[in-house]
Structure formats: C-alpha cells, structure tokens
Symmetry: C2
Subunit: 340 residues, 2 copies
Amino acid sequence: MNRPPEPTISDVAKAADVSRSTVSRVFSRPERISEATILRVREAAEQLGYSPNPTARALSTGLHRNIAVFVPDVANPFFPPLIAEVQTEAEATDRCVFLGSSGESAEREVRLARRLAAQVEGMVLVSPRMQDEEILVLATRCPLVLVNRDLVGLPRVLIDSAAGTREAVLHLAALGHASVVYVAGPEASWSNAERRTAVERAGAEAGLKVRIVPAATPTFEGGRSAVKALLRAGATAVIAFDDLVAQGVLAGLAEKGIAVPDACSVVGCDDVLGAATWPALTTVSNRSEEAGRKAFQLLLGRLERGDSTQARHVLTTSLVIRQTTAPAARKTTQTDGGRR
Amino acid sequence: MNRPPEPTISDVAKAADVSRSTVSRVFSRPERISEATILRVREAAEQLGYSPNPTARALSTGLHRNIAVFVPDVANPFFPPLIAEVQTEAEATDRCVFLGSSGESAEREVRLARRLAAQVEGMVLVSPRMQDEEILVLATRCPLVLVNRDLVGLPRVLIDSAAGTREAVLHLAALGHASVVYVAGPEASWSNAERRTAVERAGAEAGLKVRIVPAATPTFEGGRSAVKALLRAGATAVIAFDDLVAQGVLAGLAEKGIAVPDACSVVGCDDVLGAATWPALTTVSNRSEEAGRKAFQLLLGRLERGDSTQARHVLTTSLVIRQTTAPAARKTTQTDGGRR
DNA sequence: CTGTTAGCGCATTCAC
DNA sequence: GTGAATGCGCTAACAG
C-alpha cells in the first residue's frame, strides 16, 4: 500500500562501485565522465530502476523544471487549446506544468500564484484577472509571461482581436445596420477592453450608434441573460465578447422568437465553436494555440538565455463571416431603447 | 532580473530569537507551541515575507501536497469541467495540481506519469489510454484513482454511460428504426467499450440491427469523416461515441444534404455541447464534474485516512432527448451497405 | 513547550 | 576523470 522506497543515488553508486558524485555527474554533466563509467553507471541505474529525485535536485539547484499556466477558467473553450500547446512545448523541454484555473477570481489567482511560485521556474498568465500591481509583485518572485494582458516591462503575447472586431463593425455597417450593441465581458479583461474600444472607434468611424450591455459572466448563461437588455435596447446587430456569450445570445434570441440573422445579426469572438452553432456563427478568428506556443517560447528564452523582458508579440485577427450576419431588416423595430 | 533570495527558516528564527525547530513547528504543528511565541514567530515571518519552502519541506517529509490529473486531451470539452472540479477541491486542501494532457497517446501518458510520480502524492487518471499492466505498475509507485476505467484493485469512479446509451437504443427502436450504427471511439477507452456493448445488447434486445463504424479520432473531424462509411451502410440512426463525434456527424450529414432528424437520427454522448448544435443534440447526460469531485475525494481518502483501494463509484446516466431524433423515414433508402 | 542533532537526495565546490 | 566534503531548507527524533 505504501510505495516502496525509491533507489537513491547512493544505491546506484554502490552498485556501480563509484562515488555518488560520479553518479550525479552521469545524469547532469555526462561530458565530464568517461564512456566506460557512464555505461556502468547507466546500467546499474537502469537495473535498480533509479532516476534522479526531482525534489532533491530542485532543492540543491534551485531549478524545478516545472512551470505553471494560469487561466481564468479551464472550462472556457478558449483556453484548453492554448494550455495543451504550452504543455506539449513544456514536455519537449522535459518540464512539467501546473494548472491554475481560478474560476474568474482575481483573489484565487493571486493566492494560487503565490503558492506555486516556489515550485516553478516560470509562469504563463493567460488573461489574468489580477491587478497590474499584483502582477508586478509576482514578477519579482518568478519569471512571468503574459497572454492577453498588455503590461509594459513584462514579456507578453497579445491576440489583437481589435483588428477582427473592427472588421466586424465595418461588416455590419456595410450590411446597412445603423447601430450595434457590444455585449461586454469581464471588467478586468484586457481583451474585453480591446474589443470594446474597437467597437466604439470603428462604430464612430462608420457612423454607427454604439451601445454597451454587460454580460454578468463571460459564459453561455451570461449571454443568454443579456438578451433582455438587448431587446430593450432594440438591437439589430450585436457583437459579443466571445463565442460563448454569442452562443448564449443566440439561444436567448431564439427563445424570444427573434430570427437570426434576419431580425438580428450576431457576431462572436475567438472562433472556439467552429461552425457548431446554428446558424453558424460569424466571429473573429482565434489564434490561441499560436499564443500558447509563443508564450512558452518567450518563457523559455528568459529562462535559458536570459532574454529581455520587453518582448511584445502581437497576433492579429480577422473576421470569419458565416451565417449569423445579414443585411439590416428594412423596417427597424422602434423601442424605447434609449430611455433608461 | 534574478529573484531576490527568499528568506529562510533561519532568518525567521534569528529575527524571532528562537530556534529553527520552533519556527518549523509554528508552521506545521502550532498546537505544540505557546501562544506567545507563535505570535512572535508569525510576526517575524510576516515582516520578512517568509513562507516555508515547499521543496525543502517535501524533501524532508516525502509529502508534496501536489497531485496530478491526466486526461487524453484537455481540448476535448468533456474533460475541462472535471479538471476544474479536481483543481478546486485540491485547492481547498491546499494542494496544487499538475496537468498531464497526453494527446490521446498512451506512450506520452506513461512517460508523463513516470516523470510526475516523484512530485505528487497521488494522481487521477481520467480515461487513461495506457494498458492495464502499465497502470498497475504505476500504482505501485504512486496512489492512483481512475475515472472511466474499470480496473479491479484500484479506486475508480465510473460514469455509466451504458445506461443512457441503452435508453438511446430503446428510444430509437420506439421511433421505428430498424437498425442503428454506432460510431466508435478509441479502442483503449473503457467508455467506448461500455457504449459499444450497450448498443449491441440493447439492439439485440429491441430487435435492431447494429453496425459499428470507427471514427479515426474522437473529434469533430473524426465524426465528419465517418459519414462516408455511414452513408455506405445506409444508416437511418446513428449513435456516436461522444458529442464531439456526433457534431462532426451532423456536419458531415449536412454537407451531403441529409436532413437530421428527418432522414437520419443522431445521438451523442456526454452532453458537453448543451443545446449548442443545430438541431439541438439528443444525447446521454454527463456527470463529469461529479466524477471529478468524487475522484478527488477518493484520492484524499486514500492519502489521509488510508482508505481501501477497492472503491468503485458508479454514476449513472440517462438519455436527454432533444431534436436530432425522430421517427424513421417511411421509405428507407436501400444501398449496397453490407457488400464490402 | 523548546533547543540540539541528524538527515532527506542531490549538485557542487575543491582536491587528487 | 573521479572522490570527499559541504550545504540547499526543512522536519523529525530525542532530549530537557
């Protein structure tokens, strides 16, 4: 029931009739050891089923060969592909990855990060919800790479959804819509801020009236319950914070008998659903896998080559037009939208 | 750029003018220390920003307060909610979690597990792809809990999708279908075996002809490319390994102009898509969050109370009828289905 | 209740 | 190229 004691470096040393230092070197700097003894030690190790204890090694060197990835919520489909990518890359450099899924809570995020800092050589913070200061403090204790958070002084990779969002607004304008509603995501989200201002700017540029309706949470449910406010605002076109929210909006609209795209156009963001909604969702493209890969590479660069901390890698996006956008209905439903 | 040296137990001891052991005890068994010195030590620690180094602690005690969760693929939406649940539970007991996403590869799974075994007190293996023997070997080096793998001698939680799958077959029979095709998932998957035999048994029971068509991978793409074989088999009703595959089937069917559910009924499994497909997918319910919670509790029981290793917790499922199933078409399309 | 001593398993000086 | 000694930061007996 309890684990059998693992063989230690001493066991191997004894078996191979060398000193412990030699065994240690065989596994860390083999270049300084003769072929012959390497073979002998390796064999003894194999036979005993020995492999260096990572904990002891970490205590001695200060290096853990672990990293941590933080996301606001693993269950949000935007993140898993990114996580998978980081894990794959990490694996390739023989590193293990801790997962921190903080349930959209900045507090949990901070607590977890503190807890993990001593066990990792670096962390990737994806769409962190904590404040700038908290991130900066963390950065003094552990190398950080940010994804979708634009903080000067830290390496970061940014998925520029503003570009695609802008396209979306222009696309809606071209379809004859006179106004657009943005269903907003989390306050603390950099991506949300990007998208929101992109909608506002492009809206102004194209002469569209822009309104903001917050989603309580960046989820299907959040989108669904935002529909009431949408209808009150007399929306004919809506851009949602992300695909999940958009999907919720679609569902909410369907419940109220509002036809998409005939009576109302809907645009998502992140393209995590593929063509899995009905009608297939027009959305802004997603590059989260690339973001994950790049983030890991930046981290690796810092760890192994002491790269600068100033990297700012931007991945641009574009609009993927599918079936939830259509020309504005001829006869716009008038409501008391602006009143309250 | 390099991290400032963390304060150690000695620093705190000096500052509080006590021995290192006392400091140690304040953080591990405060009940044996007087109120007064606890306060003094705590204060000194706080001021220095000290907290016990987990690595040193682990080396000394053999306890890491880490666990690992393995899944075949984080990006498969079945797993994230389960992972999130485990992580939340772990956090509540002040444990951190490693993630092992193995890309559906048994080999990667084994390698990762070996690598991680020395850093965790236990692991949760969700739908492992490795062989029984490999799992058993691993179990000698590290406490294990299995999810969706029925291996005698190890604690396990099983989502009994057979129950819901059976309902699905009966449902299709009741709708007048004469045959059903099961689009199979991974060979190494316990869930797949369960579902497959459930289809076969219930099919026999209800007098349905049953055929099996494998999906290359348990993904959207896998389902989509299985459609060709489906058509060749002249399917009027199909049950897919999971929702993702079902969604692929839906897409493939749509491409060929086959109407769902009128010309062909489709049933998924795991209910991970909610009502997000069109038409909304009839599927077998999912209890992955509960599975995650239960799995962690079993692990905790083993770790803290030395619970038996014989636990076998079954979560049953049922059919969720939505819109992708309908009565069999009057006129069945005849094809050369059985020929090759 | 608290201090002293020893050691977890390894990497790293420094000698030879 | 290899061995002997020392310490990483902490917990665990064993005293008192």
